[in-house]
Amino acid sequence: MDKQTPAVSLRHITKAFGSKVVANKDVSMDIMSGEILSLLGENGSGKTTLMNMLSGIYHQDAGQILVNGNEVFINSPKDAYALGIGMIHQHFKLVEVFTAVENVALGMDKKTTGGAKEIAKAITEICDRYGFDVDPKKKVYNMTVSQKQTLEIVKALYRGANILILDEPTAVLTPQETDKLFAVLRNMKKDGKSIIIITHKLNEVLAISDRVAILRKGEYIGDVETKDASVQSLTEMMVGQKVELDIERPAVEHKALRLRIDHLTCLDRYGVTALDDVSLEAYGGEILGIAGISGSGQKQLLEAVAGLQHAESGSSIEYIEPDTGTRHQLLGKSVSDIKRMGVALSFVPEDRLGMGLVGAMGMTDNMMLRSYEKGRLPFTDRKTPRQLASKVKEELEVVTPSLNTPVRKLSGGNVQKVLVGREIASDPTVLMAAYAVRGLDINTSYTIYRLLNEQKKKGVAVIYVGEDLDVLLALCDRIAVLCGGKLNGVVDGKTATKEEVGLMMTNLRTERKEADAS
């Protein structure tokens, strides 16, 4: 294999966003032609960033890219196409109101493509060759997710892609559609094309790829031939050794049932089941961790509790009042009713300002979003929020020129502190925090952990959704592991191992049993 020139070689690639976040650090790897390579890694391990550099969306800070042994400079998606590199993004790059033909024709010279008929013919040829099924005249908005994905692949092939990168291609597919996709990929491999699949689903890695390359926290860990790999060995490479973190975990006192979730089923906005029959309990005085690959239903779970997500019939979320023990059904209640009961959601999605804070307003005004109905009508009470804002600023060391500076102008970490600080200050009985430390430096992260622990000691039921397994294992009393929208088990934070949780995140229990049996 070494004698052959690799289709693509990456040499010492480094890419950083801002000064703190290093997405890729000195990554070197090769992709041969006629092979399917899986790029495996946890969330935030830099898989997509690395591939975006190949497809011309980002440019590396340091390092070289070689295609067929020659150094190349990829500055735009157009350059990537010219080199035969095509990437299928997780969010499809298609124009919804266009037909398949129009989408393929986009940006191409009519002299080289010919008219709509010629393109339709070429699409049909590509489909016949690899075994796809695309109706050239169909509008994209009428297509299923699987058909859109197929169209993206056809589009890339039509532009002469020899190296095809697929970012989490199976995330949106049903098992049958996945099988179909894999059959197509095998046909393309036979045709001598190189295929890179970005994924974290171990069973699929084992099913489709020839070789697995593993990234962890932006660094290249190594590669193994798939035939020599097993679920266990891959998990170990993916999650690495347990890192000892010095996070405090006070003993649980006065544990009391606070939330009881029964058979919760939710659909995402595409109508796909995002959360499937999840039953879970949260207790006051403990921190319940939620682990899972991103998009496993964490968002829906938290939003259903907060009243932002519609749940399917048969679901139930009961809230037990701390003092009286009265039970309230949360489903069907309005967001403000739920908030008034003391359920706080400090959800920090990818877009920090998207939910919870208004970018153009200062800290004081953002604090007021929680209490705008207070005060003597028609006037609002501005004094209390201002005091709260300065308290949050002091305690969490928020760096801002003034309390009235629009929070949009603050750095990401400071924005997060404002959000978390406000939610904690609302004196909740249930505090949900998702990705509360994403993008924060180590000191601030510890401040947040300390605040969560304080809440726990006060008897609040804390639900913490995190991505870093080391933190989850050090901070949480119990960890519920979600996998593909299903609850894959709840483990004790004190005794569970990283490998155990990692395996539960990527393999459903039933599948694991099969793997053990074989």
Binding site: P77, L106, K110
Partner: protein
């Protein structure tokens, strides 16, 4: 009376058709140019300035050359509206200013600019009435086929207009074919629908936005020129253009972003705009009912909007990225 009503409706509709065609081309690139009323106003005054300079350079008004009498105001109009379109593109595409705010500012600016130059010209001439008359050049703009008068109602409805009216219809048909059939039109629509996708397909998003906005403004500007030179026979008076610019924007929505629909739509709007005059002749009305009837084009637009959102057909929706700036880093 019906014949003369249709004739007047077409005359009223032509400026709207220019404005709507230009705005459709602009909006297809994702730029919501609410400055169209200003652009059309500037198009009008630029033409007037051109015509004024030409007329004043003539030793004898009867010696006017038809070619220059048309070419000079036309080029001035195109140049004036092009510059305004360029300003809008620069502010929204390069500086990424908010499109709504910029558009409204352009409208205010364009109307102010027009009134400033209009007022200056009136001062220069020293006329008794607050208007300026350019009948020599206007004559060439409004010239219709000589035998049209002999053809009765057919001639009056179809052949009695100046050349700019026919040009408006041709431009609308060409714009429609361009958007529907050509590859560049396809790319342009992609830019307005999903700039990130267009960018990934190797389309220069900024260039498309600039070009379509400038070309769209030039087309819209011709609407202003037609109004001054043909419709009001070369008499410029400040604020005479009225709310035709806003009607043109309403027409864009009414025709669900299709220039070929705009041909019929503009005549309908033109008719609705003047119908109160004719109704008044049939059934005498007081002023307030006439004002109510003047609302008709806007009411119809609202109804179309409601109907369209209820039907929920994807093709009848505005371009998806309309009004949004595009940052490549957001990908």
């Amino acid at each position: 009376m019906i014949v003369s009503f249709i004739h007047r409706a077409v005359m009223q509709g032509i400026p709207l058709l220019y404005g709507a065609t230009g705005e459709i081309i602009t909006e297809k690139s994702g730029n919501l140019n609410l400055g169209i009323p200003g652009v059309m106003y500037v198009g009008g005054i630029s033409g007037v300035i051109g015509a004024f300079m030409y007329e004043n350079s003539l030793p004898d008004k009867s010696a006017a050359n038809p070619f220059w009498a048309i070419a000079i105001p036309l080029l001035c109009c195109l140049l004036g509206s092009f510059l305004i379109g360029l300003l809008y593109s620069f502010l929204t595409t390069t500086l990424r200013a908010n499109q709504n705010v910029t558009g409204l500012a352009i409208t205010t600016f364009g109307v102010g600019l027009g009134n400033f130059f209009g007022g200056s010209l009136i001062k220069i001439v020293g006329a008794d009435v607050p208007s300026i008359t350019l009948s020599t050049t206007s004559k060439f703009f409004s010239a219709s086929l000589p035998f049209a008068q002999n053809l009765g109602w057919f001639g009056e409805i179809f052949l009695s207009y100046g050349f700019l009216a026919y040009l408006a219809v041709i431009v609308a048909i060409l714009a429609s074919l361009f958007l529907k059939r050509s590859r560049v039109g396809l790319n342009l629509r992609a830019v307005g629908e999903n700039p990130a996708t267009a960018d990934a397909a190797g389309i220069n998003v900024s260039r498309y936005k600039y070009l379509s906005t400038c070309v769209g403004s030039m087309i819209a500007g011709l609407g202003g020129l037609y109004y001054v030179m043909d419709y009001v026979s070369g008499v410029w008076s400040n604020d005479g253009f009225g709310d035709r610019g806003w009607l043109a924007i309403a027409l864009v929505i009414f025709t669900v972003w299709k220039p070929n629909f705009a041909i019929i739509g503009s005549i309908l709007f033109g008719g609705l705009y003047i119908v109160h005059n004719y109704l008044n002749q049939l059934i005498p009305m007081n002023m307030s009912s006439q004002e109510l009837i003047k609302m008709a084009p806007y009411v119809v637009t609202v109804l179309v909007l409601i109907f369209n959102s209820m039907r929920n057909k994807r093709e009848s929706q505005p371009p998806e990225a309309l009004g949004l700036s595009y940052f490549r880093e957001d990908r």
